[in-house]
Symmetry: C2
Subunit: 339 residues, 2 copies
């Protein structure tokens, strides 16, 4: 048997983007923390509440300098900092290369953490609407700033809540990754939505919102500007999408609606928290790529996904998902919950 230290220890190489030659999906090979096989691939346990927390006030010098701060009476209410263990590095130019029939690029990108509140003892759903609105503005400000960097084509904002959903620190936070390529899931949404638009000359997401509001069975919540609903073909039980009721391609261009977005997001998260005993969850912001900011066929939205089932062989192999909860039942349950 080989000496495992010799063959697997990595002298901190730069991260790399690699393109799957068959389906065209990109992968980030991120070796920032890589050592031996078992050391770096288990998810670290969440930070205990009593221990040191790099996101709490007073620890500001333990993390990289903030790239955005939302001031609040002499202190801060939201801070955005570069991730200390980034999946991609922000320095350098994009350098695409071949390797035989394969394609790769150096791993240039930005990986930032949005610290949603100074308080360690709350989760996002506990914040009031004004606080959540400040978080939404932080996302927007970072997207606008990163959009100016010609190397980037997309910014993916997402949140991992709870260890089973991928969070490694307990203090409530979300993340963003700025990418030199448009991610395949967004490209596929764009393709499907463009196909529909070419046929109907209407935005698919606008039509979905109209049909859902008129049908009502999958509606979780709505206010004047936003609809939260269980999608017709959800990958996971209790998956809930939040969409603007009228056409809007790019998240960052609609800041005037953030008070009502904060209301819809908070209500959705509180319903999921109450219904499912505070489950781990993810949410993902899907917005138009920078090159297609005003797309008539694309419509920004947030996908909220509780982590309740396991991605197993059938899902990995097929891309099919087996969902034990009809979205009409999930929506009824969430809709009728008071929050």
């Amino acid at each position: 048997m080989a000496n495992s230290t010799d063959c697997v220890y990595i002298a901190s190489p730069l991260p790399e983007l690699r393109k799957d030659p068959i389906v065209g999906r990109w992968v980030i090979i991120s070796t920032e923390r890589a050592r031996r096989p078992l050391e770096h691939i288990r998810v670290p346990p969440p930070q205990p509440a009593s221990g040191f927390c790099p996101f709490c006030p007073g620890s500001e010098d333990k993390v990289p300098s903030a790239v955005y701060t939302s001031p609040d009476r002499g202190a801060w209410s939201v801070r955005v900092v570069p991730n200390k263990f980034p999946a991609l590095r922000v320095e350098g130019d994009i350098d695409r290369q071949g390797e035989g029939l394969y394609d790769k690029s150096n791993g240039v990108g930005a990986h930032e953490v949005i610290i949603e509140t100074p308080r360690h003892d709350v989760v996002l759903a506990d914040l009031d609407e004004a606080d959540i609105e400040r978080v939404l503005h932080a996302y927007r400000e970072r997207i606008i700033d990163l959009r100016r960097d010609a190397r980037f084509r997309y910014v993916m904002v997402f949140k991992n809540h709870g260890a089973a959903a991928g969070a490694s620190l307990e203090h409530t936070h979300s993340q963003l990754i700025a990418l030199p390529v448009v991610p395949i899931n967004v490209l596929e949404e764009m393709r499907g939505a463009r196909h529909y638009y070419e046929y109907k000359e209407r935005c698919l997401f606008c039509d979905i919102a109209k049909q859902e509001l008129s049908d009502g069975r999958r509606v979780v919540y709505h206010n004047d500007k936003f609809l939260a609903f269980a999608p017709f073909a959800p990958k996971q039980p209790f998956e809930t999408w939040i969409v603007p009721k009228t056409h809007a391609a790019s998240y960052e261009d609609h800041a005037r609606d953030f008070p009502l977005l904060a209301n819809a997001l908070r209500t959705t998260l509180r319903k999921i928290q109450a219904a499912l005993d505070a489950p781990p969850y993810n949410f993902m912001l899907h917005t138009a790529p920078f090159s297609d900011r005003d797309a008539p066929h694309y419509h920004w939205h947030i996908e909220v996904m509780p982590t309740l089932t396991t991605v197993a062989g059938f899902e990995w192999g097929s891309g099919f998902y087996i969902n034990p909860t009809p979205p009409e039942d999930a929506a009824t349950f969430l809709r009728e919950l008071d929050t």
Copy 2:
């Protein structure tokens, strides 16, 4: 707050296939075991070794009747039985329907369990090559039988090993699901491989196998007929693919190579078991759709994927994967392990 029993109890409706209107991905809404929100969405704990096991000899009457048995000196060595809690129902005709702008179909399909050995105290990697060959023949016989059913377009064979990889029973087994549609992941592989074939007039998978064998850095193991290698852009650390070295579109048409496939699969699983402390894992068989059995551009293969990282917000949102282990390092480590 609503009465949760009233609004979510389901009177055992039939499963349904629903198509995502944006990306075209199908989802199985499978309500076989659905009750209230929290009852059916947590993964059940694995069957304890000491308890009753429906897959052990003597329990044959506790599961549906076998659809395939591999005899072995008066007993059985491999048995295939319909899944007692199927994701899809085998009875009935396909009935596709619209619902406003959405598309759905009744959930017709076959869901079967391949009990790989009568022994409860072993895992697949513990079996000898002749035993594994019998399992490979069981997959083939079921694919050939289900191919005769005009309702089905694809059979996905897969294995969930360990609770974290989705296995709910401990006794070693794999599964198959026969589907009335070709799964999106296979369609995407077909599309990518057809695109390459149109350009080069060569099979992409054949070219990959040649490049990997010549390069050598990502080779895990190979014999006269099969190559096990770490793919250039793996979604997960230590992901390993097993491909025939020469062109072969459909798994079931190449039974003469099963002795060497058993050798390559057993060696790969034993290396992963030894390297990663017997991790949970999945494997998935990708073979050509029934309608394209002799495709010059498609090439069957098995994808083995240890369950070491969490699918989190970034992966859900982007389809990008962050992999902390360069495949060259994973392959070196696995290659140099004795098994």
